[in-house]
């Protein structure tokens, strides 16, 4: 794999994470528990779409095959998507949606902090812009996890169930990928060695306040980063891509 191919892969990983999570979050529109949450969810989805446009736009540019962010979004099939399995998990209840958001935000905030120091100017610039949005996402999802974990008996039980359910999808965030070694050596991508420890420290702090217990079983699903997804992604793409696929070449 050339350095350019590896960078294309990695940028798709970043862009697909935010694209697919944005899709999931936007499914809530009009159905949230309270108007303020409806607004906050739409706002989060909107930020994530903006990030997807930037990452996938850069990915397409690096690829140099005449594609753009829309072409990558609407004309790849699931095996070419590089998002974490975590973000394609169905929404479940509001608690599960916010738990998924928190687990992802905590990872994304750290990742962006590293990427903001990339030697690659465009990557550093996108990360520098996104990091401000994600700092807010993390504050909100963390506060909500604490509020619901430390709320009523029912809200506590639902949040613990959400954590138990999603925990096996977190390990994939930290799988070291040797495809990226050359990029790390070139200071385009940061070293990721301490990512897991720093993430675990952040989520442990929040879960302590939320009175939630991290599962002891460390089994972790993987496959998203190499294009082997869950059954859910295909359905999501059917919905997302329907107009572009049904009316090839149409301008919208």
């Amino acid at each position: 794999m050339t350095q350019r191919e590896a960078l294309f892969e990695f940028l798709q990983h970043l862009g697909d994470n935010t694209l697919i999570l944005s899709h999931r979050v936007s499914e809530w529109c009009g159905h949230a528990p309270v108007i303020e949450e409806d607004i906050a969810l739409a706002n989060t989805a909107l930020d994530l779409i903006g990030q997807a446009q930037m990452w996938l736009g850069l990915a397409a540019e690096i690829e140099g095959a005449g594609r753009d962010a829309d072409a990558l979004t609407y004309h790849r099939d699931s095996w070419d998507f590089r998002n974490l399995l975590l973000v394609e998990r169905p929404n479940g209840d509001f608690g599960k949606t916010l738990m998924r958001q928190f687990l992802f935000d905590a990872w994304q905030a750290l990742m962006l902090e590293k990427l903001a120091r990339s030697e690659h100017k465009q990557i550093a610039a996108i990360a520098g812009k996104a990091i401000k949005e994600v700092a807010y996402h993390l504050e909100r999802s963390g506060d909500t996890v604490i509020g619901l974990g430390d709320g009523t008996e029912e809200s506590h039980a639902r949040m613990q169930a959400a954590l138990d359910d999603l925990w096996p999808y977190c390990g994939e965030m930290f799988n070291l990928d040797e495809r990226y070694n050359a990029l790390i050596l070139a200071n385009i991508l940061p070293r990721m060695d301490d990512l897991r420890a720093r993430w675990l420290s952040k989520v442990t702090d929040i879960f302590d306040d939320a009175t939630l217990v991290i599962p002891t079983d460390n089994f972790a699903h993987s496959g998203g980063k190499s294009g082997r997804h869950t059954e859910h992604l295909g359905h999501l793409l059917c919905e997302m891509q329907v107009l572009q696929r049904s009316y090839p070449g149409a301008k919208w």
Binding site: P33, D38, G147, G151, S155, R158, G249
Partner: protein
């Protein structure tokens, strides 16, 4: 979005002799174009009428998220998706803003929500129609928001201060919404055969329901006199409907679409378009609950509220625990 003035119990205008001294002063302030503020004295009927209108308006914004939200996950480009998300988020913001305006009249958001869910308060009938193709998202912005603006611009001068001020901001956002809707329609109308078919189909289905948004003809509306005297309502239904038709007919022509009303024709003498009234039987049927999507729309709102109860309860419980912890901490520090 916007609320039709529905269900108002408007028993007409009192003559000056029948008014108490307080009522006379109140009416004089309104006639002088003064704004009424939350702490000012106001007749109970004025308060009730405003709660009803602002509440319906707020409900319309919230229910109105559903037909548009229906297409967010299927938006055909990332840019269209982002714009639609931002627009629907605006509508939720309008709802929040309007509930806050209603709260200044002494009714809580929860009370208003309960009345909506029990069917005791209405929302705009337009949202009981489905959004079946992407062109509907264009048509909603162009026609539905267009009609809403027509109604809301005068409301910036309505007599109740908090409502009038809310309208200033809402109108700014709505005019952006309308333009984005028209931009979608232009793309579709200039697109391929399938897109043109979607655009025409959307206009065919949305035209008459959009005309209904102005409410029944003035001659059949017994509700307007008092609300106009109080400047809660500023223009007649027919006047606004005519204005909307006059504005929209040339736009239909510009798009090379065909209006589903064969009688739509410029009338030189009245300097406006002649048009066919919508089917008012359908309008009242939809209001009564028998539109294509009434059950789904209200059902979705009730489900969101009921499914979210544990979230609201959980966050409230946490806030109470936090407050108790803060008090306990303060007491400890005092002891030390």
């Amino acid at each position: 979005m916007y609320a039709q003035v529905l269900d108002q119990n408007d028993s007409g205008v009192k003559s000056r002799e029948d008014m108490s001294e307080q009522e006379q002063i109140f009416q004089a302030r309104i006639d002088a174009g003064e704004k009424i503020e939350p702490k000012d004295w106001m007749p109970d009927a004025y308060r009730a009428m405003l709660i009803r209108q602002i509440g319906q308006h707020a409900h319309s914004e919230i229910v109105g998220q559903l037909p548009e939200g229906n297409w967010i996950t299927r938006a055909p480009t990332l840019e269209r998706k982002a714009i639609l998300l931002a627009k629907v988020q605006d509508e939720a913001g309008h709802g929040l803003y309007l509930y806050a305006a209603a709260e200044t009249l002494g009714v809580s958001r929860d009370q208003l929500t309960e009345m909506l869910h029990q069917g005791r308060m209405k929302y705009s009938s337009i949202f009981n129609y489905p959004t079946l193709t992407w062109a509907d998202i264009g048509a909603v912005g162009w026609l539905v928001d267009g009609a809403a603006i027509m109604n809301q611009v005068p409301l910036q001068r309505t007599s109740y201060g908090p409502y009038a001020r809310a309208m200033v901001r809402i109108c700014k956002e709505e005019s952006f919404h309308q333009r984005q809707g028209f931009a979608i329609m232009m793309k579709m109308a200039n697109g391929n055969d399938a897109q043109r078919r979607m655009a025409q189909d959307a206009l065919d289905r949305m035209w008459f329901p959009s005309l209904m948004m102005f409410g029944p003809p003035d001659k059949d509306s017994t509700h307007s006199t008092r609300s106009m005297a109080w400047r809660i309502k500023i223009n007649g239904n027919d006047e606004l409907r005519q204005k909307f038709v006059d504005q929209t007919a040339p736009q239909i022509e510009f798009l090379s679409l065909t209006c589903p009303d064969n009688n739509l024709k410029w009338n030189e003498e009245k300097q406006g378009y002649d048009y066919t009234d919508p089917d008012w039987k359908e309008f009242f049927a939809v209001l009564k609950g028998n539109g294509p999507c009434n059950k789904e729309r209200l059902g979705a709102r009730v489900k969101a509220w009921e499914d979210g109860a544990w979230v609201r309860d959980g966050l409230m419980a946490h806030a109470r625990k936090n407050a108790a912890r803060t008090v306990a901490k303060g007491e400890n520090e005092n002891v030390q």
